[in-house]
């Protein structure tokens, strides 16, 4: 199989990730639930992982790195815990349902929501954001990069706007964590939400919520933490205030190794290699008749995610042909980003998304281009 669905999850991971999960399954206990070595080893793994993530995202304090089960949970905690009815919030049509659905839920309870359209450059327009700010605006919730087109928002610019207007910036970094540099302080982020299994190449079931200094979402999930058990409430201190119940320590052991790999191999190298493959693919397919590429596919800064259609062929049909005849795994449909597809008038057809990892090869990219060429000829 040629796996080109890395925007959904990384399939090829550093070997050390799988080995760490295997070792943890046989050796670690439950963090904070005892002073024996199995439990302490679990706590040590969590602290090391928090520390490396804090360093990677320039959080400033490992205690403000909260573990979740995925980016969706991180976004739910941040959005539902930092906004309330009566507040105004700005978001974009680029967003995934992990952003939109918590916002719609709050909207049904009285949140005022502005959804800005996608600019010609495939991302959010700073001037439009500024125009949308109202006296009751409390936050901007935005993706760092589209999970469909790969276009990247100007988070430095949006962060400046937030600083100037005293707004909280909640960032969905699902497609950029582990690929593009993220500096929480410089970007003025109140909350950084991402999964551990995409660009970071850790195991599924791991997610990260990093919080800015002084940012504390209202706690929605309560339960055991291993500390102060007679208290009726959760601890008020981070990170445990937001980590009720047993954590996915086996997965976090893998995420720890994934973070070490990112640091040692180098995020810049990961980005450059995966983008080289994406650009080779773009060059190859844009020359094919009948191919439509979406977003600003020639932007200097983008992530290795490319969405296309071949004439009016249903994306599901094309994706299935690619897999059954050529062994190429892609993602069809609307990618949980309904507003983006409405914007691009592809709600019916969907798009076929090709997303690349630095573990992919040029030969695999060439095979994908050849497969599309053959299918294009057949469908004439």
């Amino acid at each position: 199989m040629i796996y080109l669905d890395n925007a959904a999850t990384s399939l090829y991971k550093p070997e050390a990730v799988a080995e760490a999960v295997f070792r943890a399954l046989h050796s670690v206990g439950n963090s904070g639930r005892g002073a024996h070595d199995a439990s302490l080893q679990s706590g040590r793994i969590m602290l090391q992982t928090r520390s490396l993530l804090s360093e990677l995202f320039k959080v400033g304090d490992p205690s403000r790195v909260v573990f979740t089960s995925n980016a969706t949970e991180s976004l739910n905690i941040a959005i539902l815990g930092l906004l309330q009815p009566g507040d105004h919030c700005i978001t974009s049509a680029m967003e995934h349902n992990s952003v939109l659905r918590p916002l719609y839920l709050l909207e049904s309870l009285g949140l005022e929501l502005t959804i800005l359209p996608i600019s010609e450059k495939g991302c959010m327009d700073l001037a439009e954001i500024e125009k949308a700010i109202k006296p009751n605006t409390k936050a901007i919730v935005v993706t760092h990069a589209s999970n469909v087109t790969g276009n990247v928002n100007d988070i430095d610019g949006i962060g400046e706007l937030c600083k100037k207007n005293n707004l909280r910036l909640i960032l969905d970094a699902s497609q950029t964590a582990g690929i593009l540099p993220i500096d929480m302080k410089k970007m003025n982020l109140a909350a950084l939400c991402c999964s551990g299994h995409k660009g970071l190449m850790g195991p599924q079931g791991t997610g990260v919520l990093a919080l800015g200094e002084g940012v504390m979402p209202v706690v929605q999930k309560t339960g055991g933490t291993g500390v102060d058990s007679f208290s009726h409430t959760m601890p008020t201190e981070l990170p445990e205030a937001l980590e009720a119940g047993t954590q996915n320590i086996h997965g976090l052991a893998g995420l720890l190794e994934a973070c070490k790999y990112n640091k040692e191999y180098g995020q810049e190298k990961i980005y450059q290699k995966s983008m080289l493959l994406a650009r080779t693919f773009i060059r190859g397919v844009k020359a094919l008749p009948g191919v439509t590429l979406y977003g600003d596919y020639e932007a200097a800064l983008r992530v290795p995610v490319v969405a296309l259609n071949l004439r009016d062929i249903a994306s599901g049909e094309l994706s299935d042909e690619l897999f059954t005849r050529f062994g190429i795994a892609t993602r069809a449909g609307v990618h949980c980003a309904p507003l983006l597809h409405e914007d691009y008038h592809t709600a019916g057809q969907g798009m076929v998304r090709f997303s690349f990892s630095h573990f992919n090869s040029e030969q695999e990219v060439e095979k994908a281009i050849t497969a599309l060429r053959l299918l294009e000829e057949e469908y004439r």
Partner: protein, 78 residues
């Protein structure tokens, strides 16, 4: 059973704080270790750092220097 003696006990708000102190104390070379929080301090669960009473001042210095958070420092015969 080990004979009881006066010890320096540090308690924490969270397990993360306990792990941070353990990491720092081991790096510096303190001889203490993490224990279940003694029932004389709280009947709830949690972890504490136990060290010799002579280490108390140096532990406080290290925690201040490294900005490590904790709940309480007590001296206890355990």
């Amino acid at each position: 059973m080990r004979p009881k003696e006066l010890q320096c006990i540090i308690t924490f708000h969270t397990t993360t704080e306990a792990m941070q102190l353990e990491q720092a104390a081991k790096t510096v070379g303190f001889g203490g270790r993490i224990i279940p929080v003694p029932r004389e301090i709280t009947a709830g669960c949690g972890l504490a750092w136990r060290d010799s009473i002579d280490a108390r001042a140096a532990l406080i210095d290290m925690m201040m220097e490294q900005k490590l958070s904790y709940d309480k420092i007590v001296e206890l015969i355990i």
